[in-house]
Amino acid sequence: MQASDGQIWAIILVLGVGTYLIRWSFLGVLGDRDLPGWVMRMLRYTPVAVLPALVAPLVVWPAATGGAADPPRMAAAAATVAVGVLTRNVMLAILAGGITLAGLLYLG
């Protein structure tokens, strides 16, 4: 990591203040007004768009293997998603992914 201590603290502070303002935004500023429908529509899809886009490259080209596609990690991701979709249970999905990954890495 090349960032200096000062840079890291600057990142923490800006990220902290920015995140706080995002959380406070509608509660604090808009008060009693309603939001335009298209804004609510797009905001509804924030988690299901941002987090998968964040994770997808890590699944396909994991840093731990130097970016080479890794079948155990892909299988673990697939197991997590499958169990999550089927059971709608976060803990079961994490368990399924963890066990798949540990098992395949152990066998490999």
């Binding site: 990591m1 201590d5 600057a10 990142i11 923490i12 990220l15 902290g16 920015g18 995140t19 706080y20 959380r23 406070w24 935004s25 509608f26 808009l30 309603d34 939001l35 335009p36 429908g37 804004v39 609510m40 529509r41 797009m42 905001l43 509804r44 899809y45 924030t46 988690p47 299901v48 768009a49 941002v50 987090l51 998968p52 886009a53 964040l54 994770v55 997808a56 490259p57 890590l58 699944v59 994991p62 840093a63 731990a64 990690r73 673990a76 991701a77 997590t80 998603v81 499958a82 999550g84 979709v85 059971t87 249970n89 976060v90 999905a93 994490i94 992914g97 963890g98 990954l101 540990a102």
Partner: protein, 263 residues
């Protein structure tokens, strides 16, 4: 304005069942304790995730104060991991910040959807709610508010405070534990992949409709196609395109539904 599926208080009928009567009868102190009790199961996810953050951030080269700075000042797991990941990749500071904020944009939606329920709260109360507004405190509270639409503002705020205490303080404590004693966790158990698994596990149950699936699929496709761009930039393009896709599919499904219903 198009019809919003979010119920507007107090539009729902009063919960006529026993649980509903109990919820309405609670004093703020009892509502606070109720929030605490209902949050306890989430510790099973929060504590290991925070331990892992402490460990990963320490191994990336952050000192204990910086690690705690993240967990106390930012207090948002996904963006904390994103920032540390990008810092390890030597991404420019502006990309680290923008990516971290992009991950937290979903919280604007939480803020917006809590707004109608917390009307009338003082500025100071809203300021505290904003500080503790994480995925789990939001999810628990909005469920509680929608199930019991006749709750008084003081009961709503007290319930939220109960969830916040159980979720946020252990997040900080477990981060500290991970940063200080986390080195005892053995190497070679592929901890690099705990974060992807946790996020996928959080997202998968949310893929309820065609619109959610479309948003997710397009965002993933975009992220993979744009992976060659400087760290974090692909996410800032892929995610909004995915969100717009979800919104378009939702609007399209709604129109088709109305047409089929002969409206």
């Amino acid at each position: 304005m198009s019809p919003a599926p979010e119920p507007r208080p107090p539009s729902g009928p009063p919960a006529a069942d026993e649980a509903g009567r109990r919820a309405l009868a609670r004093s703020p102190a009892q509502a606070f304790r109720h929030g605490i009790v209902q949050s306890l199961p989430f510790l099973v996810v929060i504590v290991p995730f925070a331990l892992l953050f402490g460990l990963v951030a320490t191994e990336a080269g952050l000192d204990l104060a910086q690690v705690m700075g993240f967990s106390v000042l930012v207090l948002a797991g996904a963006s904390q991991f994103t920032a540390v990941q990008l810092l390890s990749d030597n991404a420019p500071a502006i990309i680290v910040i923008l990516s971290g904020l992009a991950v937290n944009l979903r919280m604007a939606m939480y803020s917006a959807s809590l707004m109608p329920w917390l009307r009338g709260a003082s500025g100071r109360q809203k300021a505290w709610v904003a500080y503790a507004l994480i995925d789990q405190s939001y999810a628990l509270s909005i469920q509680h508010y929608e199930r019991h639409p006749r709750l008084a503002l003081s009961q709503r705020l007290a319930y939220f405070a109960g969830t916040a205490v159980v979720l946020c303080l252990p997040w900080m404590a477990a981060t500290w534990a991970g940063a200080t004693v986390g080195q005892a966790i053995p190497d070679g158990i592929a901890l690099d992949f705990a974060m992807p698994i946790t996020f996928l596990a959080m997202i998968a149950p949310m893929l309820r409709t065609a619109a959610h699936l479309a948003a997710c699929f397009v965002a993933i496709l975009g992220a993979l196609l744009l992976a060659g761009l400087p760290s974090g930039l692909g996410l800032l393009i892929a995610a909004p395109v995915g969100m717009a896709t979800g919104a378009l599919v939702e609007a399209w499904t709604e129109r088709r539904g109305m047409r089929d219903a002969g409206v």
